[in-house]
Amino acid sequence: MKRALPFVIILLALGIAVGAAWYLKQNAISNSPSILNNSASEMPAGKSGAAAVIEPGAEPPHSIGEAGAPVTLEEFGDFECPPCAMLHPELKQIEHEYGQQVRMIFREFPLVPTHAHALAAARSAEAAGLQGKFWEMHDLLYQNQKLWHGAFDVRPIFEGYATQIGLDVERFKRDLGNEIVEGRIFLDGKRGHSLGVTGTPTVFLNGRELSFESLALDKLRGEIDAELAKAAK
């Protein structure tokens, strides 16, 4: 019996460690954005009959265009996701073509831990937003995604972008850990989860989720034109 005692103690410790890890993991899940539902608005009951809850997301959202525009495109994006970077010039083209008829909203949805630098990129964009240059950083991050995606340490690269767009770099570095920055990413994530977003890019057109195939420029134009025609009636 005495010979088995050390192994019993080791197994017991292993069991407690696994249990603690499981408890911490469950705790992390129960506190994740998809479960929390404070300050939320309700949407009509779904097929199951249960009322689903839509989170408002970070307020005010990062947007381009008038709040009363007939068409709103809300993108849930991850700066490290290659399809998001491919969609970026298309959305720029839409913005250029439709002007004030379309309002663009960007929501942070960093796919952690799939993309190692996604959270750092989201923080950089939000920190730039605190100095009024969210969209400038947003554009640089997408345009240069291939350059920083494989980098070991992205911080000097993002600090370089901050310099390039004329940010106060010291403030930018401090703001990366700012609670407002963290809060905005968290709230956008909550909204995404409440809308059923699981991947990026996910785009909603006037609250309706577009299929990935609909994000091709011509199809996207067709969707927008149809909404504009509906609004004109």
Partner: protein, 156 residues
């Protein structure tokens, strides 16, 4: 009726070994749960807030927080569990376990020095949970060093 039992005496060397390895086991458990907490938070993609120093997120979201895609905290948890197991085996007289524990702790100490250097001079931030782990490893190193030299002096 009183039965005469043979009296067993624990040698001073063995006694000091039990004390050192017991302390090492307790410290390893502290390191294990600290590392487990960080590993779970890392895997969950959650933000880790520091309460004493600032920079937990900066350290944990840095590229140095993973090795080949595996969170360093998870590797740390495995190392601490190995330390705990070896310390327990050493308490129960497995001499090889004591020797392996010494080697493992020295390796962990070297890794700790590298991580402290990265936090201080490369990342520029400290993470309190990483500092707890560094503290645990440093105390473990002192313990095994004391044990190593006392057993050497007692043998000679």
């Amino acid at each position: 009726m009183v039965q005469n039992l043979p009296q067993t005496r624990i040698s001073p060397n063995k006694k000091s070994g039990i004390i050192v390895y017991s302390l090492a086991a307790v410290l390893s458990l502290i390191g294990l749960f600290d590392a487990l907490y960080l590993a779970v938070e890392h895997i969950s993609g959650r933000s880790v807030r520091c309460t004493i120093v600032t920079g937990c997120d900066e350290v944990l979201s840095s590229p140095y927080a993973t090795v080949a895609g595996i969170p360093l905290a998870f590797i740390g948890a495995i190392a601490y569990f190995a330390c705990f197991s070896l310390a327990i085996l050493a308490i129960f007289g497995y001499r090889l376990a004591g020797d392996l524990l010494t080697i493992l702790v020295v390796l962990m100490f070297l890794v700790t020095l590298i991580l402290l250097y990265l936090q201080a001079f490369v990342i520029g931030y400290f993470c309190q949970f990483c500092l707890v782990s560094a503290g645990v490893t440093i105390i473990l190193t002192i313990l095994v060093a004391v044990r190593y030299y006392t057993s050497l002096s007692m043998r000679s």
